[in-house]
């Protein structure tokens, strides 16, 4: 069964069209990099899949299920791991430990945090982390979600705040994931590690590899 299926998906921001008539199928274990200029609709498309962007038309299915009811969206949240573009450091304190536990398998997330070099920051509020540490913590949370059964990982510029070594490490971690991955990126290393590459321009998606 297809992991992710988008049929004629369009998204609007008020009067502006952000995503235009996108069709896409992603099979289990397939990795897709989505590139494109700023404002081309990449992040909006990811947010639409998660239900964070509401002004959406077309059909979005994860493992054959569209999300219409509250129970559907709950299932979608369990099926999809997410690394947001602008990780919330939050005005309100949240500890790294609490962030990792929110991904449903806190133990796996902590193991991942150890491997990513942020395992010793568990009792630190997110607001005290550097951009790179925050990004690694969110990646560890996403890996915990995958360990808990998420079958699709959506990552929005997961290496934007990392140094070169960090970018390579994250690219390797993403490439080794057995689940379907859709990653929005401007990072050539991450894009090169994906089996498929699509480019977005003016809200339209075009597969380039």
């Amino acid at each position: 069964m297809t992991t992710l299926k988008l049929s004629s998906v369009s998204c609007r921001h008020g009067g502006l069209s952000a995503v235009n008539d996108v069709d896409l199928e992603l099979s289990p274990g397939e990795h897709l990099a989505v590139t494109g200029t700023n404002g081309s609709g990449k992040s909006t498309l990811l947010r639409a899949i998660l239900g964070l962007h509401r002004d959406v038309t077309g059909l979005i299915e994860v493992y054959g299920a569209a999300a219409r009811t509250r129970a559907d969206w709950r299932r979608r949240c369990a099926d999809v791991a997410w690394i947001p573009q602008r990780q919330a450091a939050g005005q309100f304190p949240l500890l790294v430990r609490e962030l990792l536990d929110s991904g449903r398998d806190g133990r796996a997330a902590r193991r991942a945090a150890d491997e990513l070099g942020v395992g010793d920051l568990l009792d630190r509020p997110l607001s005290t982390l550097s951009g790179g540490q925050l990004q690694r913590a969110y990646l560890a949370r996403a890996l915990g979600q995958v360990a808990a059964g998420a079958r699709l990982l959506l990552a929005d510029e997961p290496t934007a705040a990392l140094d070169f070594a960090g970018q390579e490490q994250v690219a390797e971690v993403l490439a080794a994931l057995p689940v379907a991955v859709m990653v929005v990126t401007h990072d050539r290393v991450v894009a090169a590690a994906c089996g498929r590459v699509a480019e977005m321009a003016a809200g339209r998606m075009r597969e380039v590899r």
């Binding site: 998660l50 239900g51 964070l52 509250r70 709950r74 949240c77 369990a78 999809v80 997410w82 947001p84 919330a88 939050g90 005005q91 309100f92 304190p93 949240l94 500890l95 609490e98 962030l99 536990d101 929110s102 991904g103 449903r104 009792d123 509020p125 997110l126 607001s127 005290t128």
Partner: protein
């Protein structure tokens, strides 16, 4: 002093302040976390409208204020998706509520002084019913926190992270707004509508300076609530000052000192 403490009105006031120090500061943490400070101000106006309606129809004014605030809090939920969505609407709500309150008081022909006394509050006029309402909040609010602390920590940190973590964001926001509205209506008797922040927001703002996580913020907010309220009230009795403004000033100055001291989170 012991003679003053033996007065039933003083004992009721103490009981109200002690119970209020448990539930109300936690509500303040919710307000700060949701970044919906305009809501509590709008709720004061809605409470005045409820009081006016109570005076008009001959029901308990505070009960009417509680019910109207709870209904309004629930109705605000769709706007709470962003703080900007709430701040604009709150200006409208405040204006409409206070205008409607004035109109109701005018056409009912009742003495408006009774309603507007509640702007200033009178802690020594606390009734057993007010203490009971604060007692319910003292149980309800910490229970809500312990029952939903993981979801609350995520929601108060970031709404989208909470939503993607499977938290029923809309439903939890609805519950929080109703609890906030009820708490504000219940607290008005103690310090008055204009100073109700002292019981909710000041302990929460002080706790934000020292708390590193939601559990520690909740704990510190209750500690600060007790210190500000009891300390302020005792000081007012000793100096023969009006209790409401005194305990607000004690809380405000302590919060200011904490901010000036720059305690690191």
């Amino acid at each position: 002093m012991s003679q003053i403490l033996a007065l039933p009105s003083v004992q009721l006031a103490f009981a109200a302040l002690l119970l209020g120090s448990i539930g109300l500061p936690i509500v303040g943490v919710f307000i700060v976390g949701l970044d919906i400070m305009p809501v509590r101000f709008a709720m004061m106006h809605v409470a005045l409208l409820g009081i006016a309606i109570g005076l008009l129809v001959g029901l308990d004014p505070l009960l009417c204020a509680l019910v109207l605030c709870a209904l309004t809090g629930g109705a605000l939920t769709p706007l709470a998706r962003s703080s900007t969505g709430l701040s604009g609407a709150m200006g409208l709500l405040m204006t409409l509520a206070i205008a409607a309150a004035l109109l109701v008081l005018s056409i009912s022909g009742v003495n408006a002084n009774g309603a507007f006394e509640l702007l200033w509050g009178s802690i020594l006029a606390t009734r057993p019913w007010d203490v009971a309402a604060l007692g319910v909040l003292a149980v309800l609010v910490p229970s809500l926190y312990f029952w939903r602390r993981r979801d609350l920590a995520l929601l108060l940190h970031d709404r989208e992270l909470a939503q993607c973590s499977g938290v029923a964001v809309e439903r939890l926001t609805l519950v929080l707004l109703v609890v906030i509205a009820l708490a504000i209506a219940s607290a008005i008797r103690l310090t008055g509508a204009l100073l109700v922040d002292a019981l909710t927001l000041l302990p929460a703002l002080a706790a934000r300076r020292v708390g590193r996580s939601l559990p520690s913020m909740i704990g510190w907010s209750v500690v600060f609530g007790l210190l500000f309220n009891v300390g302020g009230f005792v000081l007012a009795l000793l100096l023969d000052f009006p209790p409401g403004p005194t305990l607000v000033l004690v809380g405000g100055l302590c919060t200011l000192l904490l901010h000036l001291k720059g305690v690191k989170r």
